[in-house]
């Protein structure tokens, strides 16, 4: 899952970026409003975390521009302003959620996950694909009764596939949602991670869960 963090206060940007990456998200960060809008327009982020007071372009202005241009990506507004008018203005301009500084990091994570579930029409905190089970809140995975240990990156990849279970997901989509903007993209990085994932979740005695659709991408949990 790929996030955009637009926050100009360096210590907050740094620590949130680190924490979110460790939680398995692909995170792009910027401290400038104009740059933030450019990022948001050029990628289909799963959640955009937006500070309101920004240099270059105000957070509310970014939100307005995004919505005006038809971008429906979930936006979580982070701000130190906590008056009712501020909240109402933010939500009216199309923010999906609101968090007042200072906040607990766990709460931020929970809200980001909730926004993602909503985005993928997934209200349950658990996704089941055949006998594969993902607990989205705890970020744990079971195959049958056996828990599967995944790295955050592997988990992120599996979660994205699970959210779109039954659909063909292109390599570009995967790359865009699981990898950071700034990371060096080698053409087969997605294939390599799919390989890691297969090794961990597939069972020789059962039909494969991840299928390659030649020339198009991958599909999780479809009938062969």
């Amino acid at each position: 899952m790929r996030l955009l963090l637009i926050e100009d206060y360096r210590p907050l940007q740094k620590s949130l970026g680190k924490g979110l990456r460790e939680a398995g998200f692909a995170v792009d960060t910027t401290g400038d409003g104009n740059e933030g809008l450019w990022y948001a327009m050029s990628n289909d982020y799963d959640v955009i975390i937006l500070d309101l007071m920004l240099p270059g372009m105000d957070g509310l202005q970014i939100l307005k521009e995004l919505r005006a241009k038809g971008r429906k990506n979930p936006v979580l507004v982070l701000t130190a302003k906590d008056t009712l008018e501020d909240r109402v203005t933010g939500l009216d301009l199309g923010a999906d959620d609101y968090l007042v500084k200072p906040f607990e990091f766990k709460e931020l994570l929970a809200r980001i996950r909730a926004l993602m579930r909503r985005r993928y029409q997934e209200k349950r905190p658990c996704i089941k694909v055949k006998d594969l089970r993902l607990d989205l809140a705890a970020q744990r995975v079971w195959r049958g009764r056996e828990e599967v240990q995944l790295t955050p990156r592997e988990y992120a990849l599996l979660e994205y596939l699970a959210m779109r279970a039954g659909q063909t997901v292109s390599r570009i989509d995967i790359w865009e949602h699981v990898y950071e903007f700034n990371s060096s993209a080698s053409s087969n990085v997605v294939d390599v991670y799919i390989g890691y994932l297969r090794r961990k979740i597939e069972r020789p005695d059962r039909p494969p869960l991840i299928r390659t659709v030649r020339g198009r991408g991958y599909i999780l949990g479809a009938q062969s």
């Binding site: 210590p11 907050l12 740094k14 949130l16 007071m53 302003k81 906590d82 906040f103």
Partner: protein, 473 residues
């Protein structure tokens, strides 16, 4: 007498009582005098008739009047009396109604009636007139008789019980009428005063309805008499001023909270993310030094806020001294020279070395430091900062200017607002929390001077301080 109602009532009733008293006394006096005059006139008329009926005939006094014709002198009911005396005091004649008694002899000058109050035989109050007169003579020459011996004195008295009774009745009538009027007017006045003062009650009710947490309410002018309108206006003005002041305070508190929240959020998320898992020593070190830096910034911010609050609350004490301005600016610059050097900013102090000013060194130093800090913060890379000084008659003018200003002229007017920053990229850098110029303005004002700012072409931002040469404390 705190109550307006009591005061009005006492005033009205007291005034009424005084007026009624004066009125009654005048009415009584006039009527009494008129009645007495009338009574006395009738006594005098009787006396003159009696006098006219007396004739001297050879030293004999003859009363030609037939007393039978004047029944008053005989009646026992409300009788009248008369008595004549010769000048030597011998009684010449008296009315039958006197019986054996005598009237008291009294007289004025010849032909002028004088009056007296007396008690009549019947025990009633009466009035008497004494008249000294020359009776008619029978026409013969009385040369040998001295004129004096020929005068007679007549006293006529009449029972005046009725008169005094009427006067007494009049007195009581006036007293009772006055008491009645006073009582009635008390009721009327109480009602009128209550009605008249009812706008005050409604004003009080409206004031009571003003809540301290909602100062947007205003007192309405409905049914307010003209006298209460200025009070209403003043109260509303007061409410407006209070509201503005409360709003300012609220905004300031909100701004302070906002300024403190961002670094707090940074510190909290740094700590939480770090504590989320086991890390190596280097990572812990980085996180801790990040948090230390944040806490230092927050401390500086709190210090600034406290200084600001003190200035705002006029809690500054001044110790005026003769200040060498150029020297003071140089010593203030010490704190910023390193940062300026790093960014290749050139500083030039153009204040004449001999220029002095009588002011408070500590406050002025605080203001100058803030200005220099601001100049360094907002100057461009390799920019310039300079200070100038100019002595006028009774004031000094100090300017602090820097290059690299990107503010428009409209924005310049906002620089004195608390927490305003020309470029929000300066947000949350911690130390510069947008109080600097607001603080300078307040310090200079407290020192009796004023502050102006301007932006010239080419991005030269100038702050001009005008200070009185002598500080009034």
């Amino acid at each position: 007498m705190r109550s307006l109602r009591t005061r009005l009532l006492v005033g009205i009733i007291g005034g009424m009582m005084l007026l009624l008293l004066v009125f009654s006394v005048i009415v009584y006096t006039v009527i009494r005098r008129a009645l007495l005059n009338q009574f006395d006139a009738s006594l005098t008329a009787t006396a003159r008739i009696l006098a006219a009926s007396v004739e001297y005939d050879d030293d004999e006094v003859e009363l030609e009047l037939d007393v039978q014709m004047m029944p008053g002198f005989q009646s026992l009911e409300r009788p009248a009396y008369y008595q004549f005396w010769q000048h030597d005091g011998t009684v010449v004649a008296k009315s039958p109604s006197l019986g054996t008694d005598d009237l008291l002899l009294f007289e004025g000058s010849l032909g002028v009636p004088v009056f007296q109050v007396l008690q009549t035989r019947s025990g009633q109050p009466g009035r008497a007139v004494g008249l000294k007169f020359k009776p008619r003579s029978d026409g013969r020459d009385d040369e040998q008789q001295p004129a004096k011996q020929r005068t007679l004195t007549l006293v006529v008295a009449h029972d005046a019980g009725d008169l005094y009774h009427h006067l007494r009745f009049l007195r009581w009538l006036l007293v009772i009428a006055s008491v009645g009027i006073i009582s009635l007017s008390f009721l009327v006045a109480a009602f009128v005063v209550r009605r008249g003062l009812s706008p005050l009650n409604s004003l009080a009710a409206q004031i009571a309805a003003v809540r301290e947490d909602d100062l947007t309410t205003r007192i309405t002018a409905e049914h307010m008499p003209a006298e209460v309108v200025p009070i209403r206006k003043q109260l509303n003005d007061l409410l407006s001023r209070l509201e503005a002041s409360f709003n300012r305070e609220r905004r300031f508190t909100a701004d302070v909270a906002h300024e403190l929240r961002t670094p707090l959020a940074g510190m909290r998320s740094t700590l939480e993310v770090t504590l989320a898992r086991m890390r190596d020593v280097n990572e812990y070190q980085t996180s801790l030094s990040d948090c230390l830096a944040i806490s230092k910034n927050m401390q500086a911010m709190v210090d600034n806020l406290l200084a600001f609050a003190r200035i705002d609350a006029h809690q500054m004490t001044f110790h005026p001294a003769q200040i060498q301005l150029a020297e003071l600016v140089n010593s203030c610059w010490q704190g910023f020279s390193d940062e300026a050097r790093q960014r290749s900013i050139v500083f030039e102090n153009r204040i004449p070395a001999e220029m002095t000013c009588q002011s408070d060194p500590e406050s002025l130093s605080m203001a100058l430091s803030n200005l220099l800090d601001n100049a360094v913060e907002y100057s461009n890379e390799a920019g310039q900062i300079w200070t100038t000084g100019r002595q006028a008659d009774d004031s000094v003018e100090i300017t602090v200017a820097n290059t690299g200003c990107r503010l428009t002229n409209e924005q310049v007017s906002q620089v004195f607002d608390c927490f305003w920053r020309g470029d929000s990229s300066r947000t949350n850098t911690g130390v510069h929390c947008g109080l600097g110029l607001a603080m300078v303005q307040r310090i200079i004002k407290a020192l009796g001077g004023h502050t102006t700012v301007e932006v010239q072409n080419g991005g030269i931002f100038t702050v001009r301080l005008t200070l009185p040469d002598s500080l009034r404390t």
